[in-house]
């Protein structure tokens, strides 16, 4: 309907959204959904998040010296920020699970207005929580959203925490090694994990400054913790699983916007069995080509990082999958070649349907990786995010 009424509105909407949210959220809302009944609701919330950023926010322009735990906590001077956890778990019977817990923070304005009402806040929190139950071929995903509110949602610096209802991400610097705790529950699914890492964080891009386009300030601060050792509890209905595994944390904050011609992105993160890891994001352009600002990092077993440019990586799509729910066709198999590192990685989803069908439409899921480095086989597990399809 929206398209039929005004193609221009649609294009404008989408551009606006791409500008403000796409890169930032890493998830694309598609206004031309098949589900008419929820369309306007999605549009309502979307319009709010997509409203143009105001200039008073800080921008990521210079590489910054990260300092922890300070930088694990929120950066309120930037419009958008997220704590993005993904990982692979298995219970005592080696039953495999994938999980995602992401909390996003948005500011509609830099300044708070004086009011006695707690709702007069510019801050919005959005949460995505998913469990991929690989054996049962089922994907449970939940979305929540709220304005920051003392009793509902918020971020705090001391202690480092971000929460939305009973979904909480906390960092404790006092433990040794310092640890993250993730808790999320909805309906009959509950996750409670402790995550620790002996490795330092990996600064992505130019010492943590990740440029998304040629324009100054169109960049984010971006660091990852590619190897977090996870342990805890996962409840699925009546079953309680003690789980262990590996998790990946992406932290990013920015006030940036995408270039007009950028359509979406594919993000790959693989943890290899030899403790090395690879992250690469490909920015796709509307014309089908890859954006030159696509980038990534390879971390070897000892924790040494190598920056990867767009030209270092070539990606071949080996398969496609079409969602029955949204009719969107997503890539469903990839081969990444990194000649510089003598690395070749083939990836396949562990579960086909790991599509998000809420307000934000994207595919994010657990994958298996079969790789070769300098001719030696190397297995791994990873997560892939596909937006803008």
């Amino acid at each position: 309907m929206l398209i039929a009424r005004s193609g221009r509105t649609y294009v404008w909407m989408r551009n606006l959204f791409l500008f403000a949210v796409l890169l930032v959220v890493g998830a694309l809302f598609r206004p031309h959904s098949e589900h008419a009944n929820s369309k306007s609701e999605r549009a309502g919330a979307m319009a709010i998040l997509a409203s143009p950023a105001t200039s008073q926010f800080s921008r990521a322009q210079e590489p910054a010296a990260f300092e922890f735990p300070r930088d694990h906590a929120t950066h309120k001077d930037f419009r958008t920020e997220w704590w993005y956890f993904t990982g692979h778990l298995s219970d005592s019977n080696a039953r495999p699970f994938g999980f995602q817990l992401t909390l996003f923070r948005f500011e509609l304005d830099r300044d708070s207005l004086e009011s006695r009402s707690a709702w007069r806040t510019p801050r919005i929190l959005l949460g995505h929580f998913a469990i991929s139950d690989i054996e049962n071929d089922s994907f449970h995903h939940f979305e929540r959203m709220s304005r920051a509110h003392p009793s509902i949602a918020g971020v705090s610096q001391q202690p480092v925490a971000v929460w939305l209802d009973d979904w909480r991400i906390e960092f404790d610097a006092q433990t040794s090694p310092p640890s993250w705790r993730l808790r999320a529950a909805q309906q009959s699914i509950e996750l409670d994990l402790n995550l620790t890492s002996r490795h330092a964080v990996i600064k992505q891009g130019d010492a943590g400054l990740s440029r998304k386009s040629a324009a100054l300030g169109n960049a984010s601060y971006y660091y990852s913790v590619p190897r977090l050792t996870a342990g805890g509890r996962l409840r699925l209905g009546a079953e309680d699983h003690h789980v262990t595994g590996q998790a990946w944390l992406d932290r990013e904050w920015s006030t940036s916007a995408l270039d007009r011609e950028q359509q979406g992105w594919d993000w790959f993160a693989v943890q290899f069995e030899d403790q090395s890891s690879l992250m690469f994001y490909r920015l796709r352009k509307f014309d089908g080509g890859d954006d030159a600002h696509s980038a990534g990092t390879y971390v070897d077993s000892s924790g040494n990082a190598t920056r990867l440019e767009a030209s270092d990586v070539s990606i071949v799509i080996t398969d496609y999958w079409t969602s029955a729910a949204t009719n969107i066709r997503y890539p469903h198999g990839w081969r990444l070649e990194v000649p510089r590192l003598g690395l070749s990685v083939a990836m396949r989803p562990r579960l086909a349907d790991q599509e998000w069908t809420g307000r934000f439409r994207y595919w994010e899921g657990a994958v298996t990786a079969v790789a070769e480095r300098h001719g030696r086989p190397l297995d791994g597990l990873g997560y892939v995010e596909l937006t803008g399809y």
Binding site: S40, E41, G44, D109, L113, R116, A118, R144, H149, I152
Partner: protein
């Protein structure tokens, strides 16, 4: 085409005006019934829509048993049922002046992030970010924008519960349903209401089938004892329960109008049959069967009824447009803040209109049809024969009337609570009076003839005599006029008595010299605290202060008001007890476990003094002893009254909604009022009301309530006047030769006119003579039976002449007007031509 059919069609075409009148009568009757039904349906739709309103697919609602609630509770609900998509709402209200008129508009505070989908199709066009970020920004539906002449970009200065503020209409939106409210961000609503951290309700969308049992233990825990979950469909059901009695009353009025319409059909059909007696006799001689003739007459009635039904539906729809506003106003004054709705007519209703028209027309034609079938072939019809038969019809009618009256009395004797039985009995008595009327008028005319005739001038004497003779023809029209007038008088007397009772009650209840109340009668905003009361009491002009607070309880699914009173001795006389020992009541008033209840509450709950009532409080259910039952016209659902001490004890509250101020002796009230206004200047949400002003305001609402009733009774009277017109026209057509004779023997036109008007006035006056006592009887029944059974209100009957004047005047004028055309026809007729047919 059969001979019978052609004969029938020819006759009806030749008597178009008569048919037209019959159709008009039935059409107006149907119009009134249908308009009431449409109005009711529209109001119901409006309410259903206001429930649906902007929260489209919400299925459930969480609200506090008592007023608003802490917004922290939303957090627990969100955690308990995140998949129900809970969204918070803050309701408040603003007033503003526009074109010299004060408007009151509900304000709905929503959370655009989790909340409803605004606008048709998609909300993408609405700047919800601005709504969230710009304090005082508001959206308005296109319906409301048009109604109030507001447009996008306009700033409106409004009075909110916390005083004046500026709202900017940032956008106008279209909705599928009519939302007559300002839509603001939840923060703006809290700021306007001056109630930060409080929510009015939480809207939820329950996934899955509506009829599944709710198995959410987490939700039930989160609700605790103070929050309650309601299903929207339940809300609709309870709203219907509330307005049931109100609409039943309107329906009864509508049925009465239809009855009058049916009388007109009967009248016309009888006349059409009488005119064709010779024709039918000839047809019988030609071999047409009795059944064919009877069937033909019924077919004619069916046709007239069908036309009347169509026209009636159309008029009813138009009438509904006029009625919907006052009805909606009444409903929101007394029951629920229903949204104004477009007038909607359902096919079912229109079908009902057709059916009512046809059934009443056919029923009214049964007797005339039966009469026609009894004619022998080629029977020479003499008027005298026919009239003696009519004479027996009058006697039959009177006999049925007596039976109907007996039935009515039996109904009354056998039931105590049923409203339908009450109306049925009332209907029986009205029918009885109506059926008896022609016979009574005839008897009175006979008496006049015997005792007065010699003393009357010739035209009047002749008029009385002629009227007696014509009673078979005009009797029913007169009866219908009587019924309509009696109903008008009865309703008028009832409303008058009611008003007197309410006025007396207000006068007795409102004993304070001045009142201070919050601008907005919102339950959740009791805000007058002790500091203010101490301040007021510090004024030497003030003798004492009373306090009133209201809380709401869930009484078997029906929301019930509990009013807490802190009464200085001077205020206690404000209660008029119908039952209970006054000394005992006041002795135990402040003790735990004692309540008094209003009359409607006692009636609906079937409580008596000494009974136990289980009062739900935040601290659980407390058994209370009913100490007394008092008069209260403020709430038809009824009220439980408790002492301030018990309010504090069980609700743990100390805030009042309003206070009454008693002046010290010999204090000038003006000075005291000025003192208070100065003192309360900073408290913009409070208003000082002098006693008389508050009473006038209460009575104004009362008067508004009966606007609809007035309109409907006047319409019934109008139909009756048409009935008289119809009957007189027929009569005069038939008597044309007689007038010709009068003209031939030298009567001037003026004299003939005088004779005709005299005839009308005599029978109308006699009908009114019967209408007055019958009206009084109706009033008594309305007061003693219908009001009690509808609302549980008792009151004394009080006579007021003004209730009589208008209906009587209207009947006389109507009858006189109805004579104009027939009289002119009669005097214009050429005597020679009329005599030639003799």
């Amino acid at each position: 085409m059969s001979l019978l059919f052609r004969a029938s069609a020819r006759h009806l075409l030749h008597h178009r005006s008569q048919c037209l009148l019959a159709v008009t009568g039935i059409a107006l009757g149907v119009a009134i019934v249908i308009s009431i039904q449409i109005t009711q349906l529209s109001a119901r739709t409006a309410f259903a829509q206001s429930l649906e309103s902007i929260f489209g697919r919400a299925t459930h609602q969480i609200s506090a048993i008592d007023g608003d609630f802490d917004e922290a509770r939303l957090a627990t609900i969100r955690i308990a049922v995140p998949h129900w998509h809970p969204t918070p709402v803050v309701d408040t209200q603003v007033e503003f002046d526009r074109d010299g008129e004060r408007h009151s508009l509900p304000v709905i505070g929503i959370d655009p992030l989790t909340g409803p989908a605004l606008g048709t199709g998609n909300g993408a066009g609405l700047d919800l970010t601005r709504l969230m970020r710009q304090p005082g920004s508001a959206l308005i539906s296109s319906h409301t924008a048009t109604r109030l002449g507001l447009r996008s970009g306009q700033s409106v200065r409004v009075q909110g519960p916390r005083g004046a503020s500026e709202l900017e209409i940032i956008e106008v939106f279209d909705t599928r349903v009519i939302v007559d409210a300002l839509v603001v961000d939840i923060a703006t609503a809290q700021e306007l209401a001056g109630r930060p951290f409080r929510l009015s309700r939480i809207e939820l969308q329950r996934p899955g089938e509506a009829n599944d049992e709710i198995s959410e233990p987490g939700l039930l825990r989160a609700l605790g004892p103070t929050l309650r979950l309601t299903d929207r469909r339940q809300n609709l059901a309870s709203a219907e329960q509330l307005t049931h009695a109100f609409y039943t009353n309107l329906d009864a009025l509508g049925m009465l109008a239809l009855l009058v319409g049916a009388f007109m059909i009967y009248n016309t059909m009888t006349f059409l049959v009488v005119q064709r007696q010779t024709l039918y006799a000839r047809l019988r001689a030609l071999g047409v069967s009795r059944n064919a003739i009877g069937g033909q007459i019924l077919t004619e009635a069916l046709l007239l009824g069908a036309i009347g039904g169509c026209v009636g539906n159309a008029i009813g729809y138009g009438l509904a447009q006029l009625l919907s506003e006052p009805v909606a106003q009444t409903v929101s004054d007394h029951y629920i803040g229903a949204a104004h709705s477009a007038v909607v007519a359902s096919p079912g209703l229109l079908l009902l209109g057709m059916l009512l028209a046809i059934v009443s027309a056919v029923c009214a034609a049964i007797l005339p049809a039966w009469q026609a079938t009894r004619l022998e072939p080629a029977q020479i019809v003499r008027l005298s024969v026919q009239e003696s038969e009519s004479q027996s019809v009058l006697s039959y009618a009177a006999a049925i009337g007596v039976l109907s009256a007996l039935l009515g009395m039996v109904l009354l004797a056998m039931t105590t609570h049923s409203l339908y039985a009450g109306f049925a009995a009332l209907g029986c008595l009205v029918v009885a009076a109506t059926l008896l009327t022609p016979r009574l008028v005839q008897l009175m005319l006979n008496a006049i003839e015997r005792n007065l005739a010699a003393r009357l001038p010739l035209p009047e004497r002749l008029a009385a005599k002629n009227a007696t003779r014509s009673m078979a023809r005009i009797g029913l029209a007169i009866a219908a006029l009587m019924a309509a007038t009696a109903t008008s008088v009865g309703v008028g007397l009832m409303v008058g008595s009611f008003r007197t009772a309410v006025d007396d009650w207000l006068q007795q209840l409102m004993r304070a010299d001045l009142y201070v109340s919050q601008n907005f009668e919102r339950r959740d905003q009791a805000a007058i605290d002790n500091t203010l009361i101490t301040q007021v009491l510090a004024n030497p002009r003030v003798a004492s202060v009373s306090r009133v607070a209201r809380v709401y309880i869930d009484n078997d699914g029906v929301e019930t008001r509990v009013t807490a009173y802190d009464l200085p001795p001077a205020a206690r006389a404000g209660f008029r007890f119908i039952d209970g020992d006054i000394d005992a009541i006041w002795e135990n008033w402040k003790q735990p476990g004692h309540v008094i209840v209003s009359e409607p509450f006692a009636w609906h709950q079937r409580l008596e003094v000494g009974d136990r009532y289980r009062l739900p409080t935040p601290n659980g259910i407390v058994p209370m002893t009913v100490m007394g039952v008092y008069t209260d016209y403020g709430s038809e659902r009824g009220v439980v009254a408790i002492s301030w001490e018990n309010y504090h004890r069980y609700w743990g509250k100390n805030l009042a909604h309003s206070i009454g101020i008693y002046a010290a002796n010999h204090v000038a009230l003006d000075a005291l009022e000025n003192d208070l206004r100065r003192q309360l200047q900073a408290e913009e949400h409070l208003t000082v009301w002098p006693n008389a002003q508050l009473r006038a305001r209460s009575l104004a609402i009362f008067d508004r309530t009966f606007v609809v009733t007035d309109v409907l009774t006047l319409l019934a009277a109008l139909i009756a006047a048409l009935g008289v017109f119809n009957a007189l026209l027929a009569l005069n057509l038939e008597r044309a030769h007689e007038y010709a004779v009068l003209r031939a023997v030298g009567w001037r036109r003026a004299l003939v006119r005088r004779y005709l008007y005299a005839q009308t006035l005599i029978v109308t006056a006699l009908a009114l003579l019967i209408a007055l006592p019958v009206g009084a009887l109706i009033a008594v029944l309305l007061i003693e039976i219908i009001n009690v059974r509808s609302f549980g209100w008792s009151m004394d009957f009080s006579w007021n002449n003004s209730a009589l004047v208008l209906p009587c005047l209207l009947a006389l004028l109507g009858a006189a007007a109805a004579t104009v055309l027939p009289a002119e026809q009669a005097v214009r007729a050429d005597p020679a031509r009329a005599l030639r047919y003799e």
